[in-house]
Symmetry: C2
Subunit: 205 residues, 2 copies
């Protein structure tokens, strides 16, 4: 039996991660990227940078005009307006990584995730999986949102209401991870990636 009947190569995993503000999803995605295990998919946005955010690391901060130009040239994988601002991820960047076997983690809201999921690109369909990160409880969510300290009361209330609406969608994802301790979360999140790397659908011979 020739060796080429063994799996020899694999495509990258496209790990789509959603969850409300306060679920801890961005921290998890960043931690996985920091240990070098995945490429963190940097999105474009028209919203203003928050203190400490860096262009090209946290987001590509674009003007409305620049963003619209990308839309016209169909360069976004998906894009959506959330809380008045545009968010989107560039297609070619993601696909090139998947083709060379690099895993891509996409930290994306529910609207964006559903668009990526509905994408008819064969490579994307083969590489895609999705996980919803839930906060431990409603109480913990309230506390986490309050501790951010970047919002006035009205905005906080809006965020909480949005978060609760989003949470109701957890069962439409492939995986659901209820956040616990940071270490346990990262362990499970990493396991999810390791397992997805073993899926036959992405292995080739």
């Amino acid at each position: 039996m020739p060796n080429h009947t063994f799996p020899t190569q694999r495509l990258g995993v496209l790990l789509v991660v959603s969850g409300p503000s306060g679920s801890g999803k961005t921290t998890l995605c960043r931690q996985l990227a920091d240990v070098g295990e995945v490429v963190y998919s940097v999105s474009c946005t028209t919203r203003a940078p928050r203190p400490g955010e860096v262009h090209g690391r946290d987001y590509f901060f674009l003007s409305e005009q620049e963003f619209q130009d990308h839309i016209r040239r169909d360069e976004f994988f998906e894009h959506a307006r959330v809380h008045g601002n545009l968010y989107g991820t560039l297609k070619t960047y993601v696909k090139q990584n998947l083709e060379r076997g690099a895993d891509v983690v996409m930290d994306i809201d529910i609207q964006g995730a559903s668009i990526v999921r509905a994408c008819d690109d064969e490579l994307v369909q083969r590489c895609l999986t999705d996980v919803f990160i839930l906060p431990p409880s409603v109480e913990a969510l309230k506390e986490r949102l309050s501790n951010r300290g970047t919002e006035d009361d009205e905005k906080l209330s809006l965020r909480l209401s949005n978060a609760l609406t989003e949470i109701a969608q957890w069962h439409t994802y492939t995986y659901a991870l209820v956040s616990g301790t940071r270490e346990h979360d990262l362990d499970r999140f990493r396991a999810l990636l390791v397992a997805e790397r073993l899926r036959v659908v992405r292995q080739q011979n």
Copy 2:
């Protein structure tokens, strides 16, 4: 939003594991059971115990007559004759574990796995996933089979030939794990279980 919209309970994972003799699959399954993370599904067989094998731990060693009685009462999840001996797993044992949320690892040959996969039981379909363990290479497989020392040359040759035929089926499984070091194998095998526990299809609210 009431708390019951969060996932609160889950069904067990039924992890069906196949791979040729010499792939290391039995060691992996045992290791996972030893750390208490899964219930190792003990099969029934009509073959004679090998030195060191214990009834009720390695297999339930049954007479041909006892085995046939279980078949008649439809108590097997699946059963098949391999190398002249009967092998089978009792249904109720597996399903009771899954219902109470315990994960069950089923170390089973390709024939048996395809029967379990085709089972029309709703609980089984919901809990089932499968993984094929491959040896690192054909050379490594030959070496591992030779080192067993329990077979004469003719039987060894038959086992090798069977193993190579089985290996060609790796792509019909959900996951494929190419065996490497024992530690790395266990890490990935455990990750697979951890990830499967997070699957929405087995979570309830």
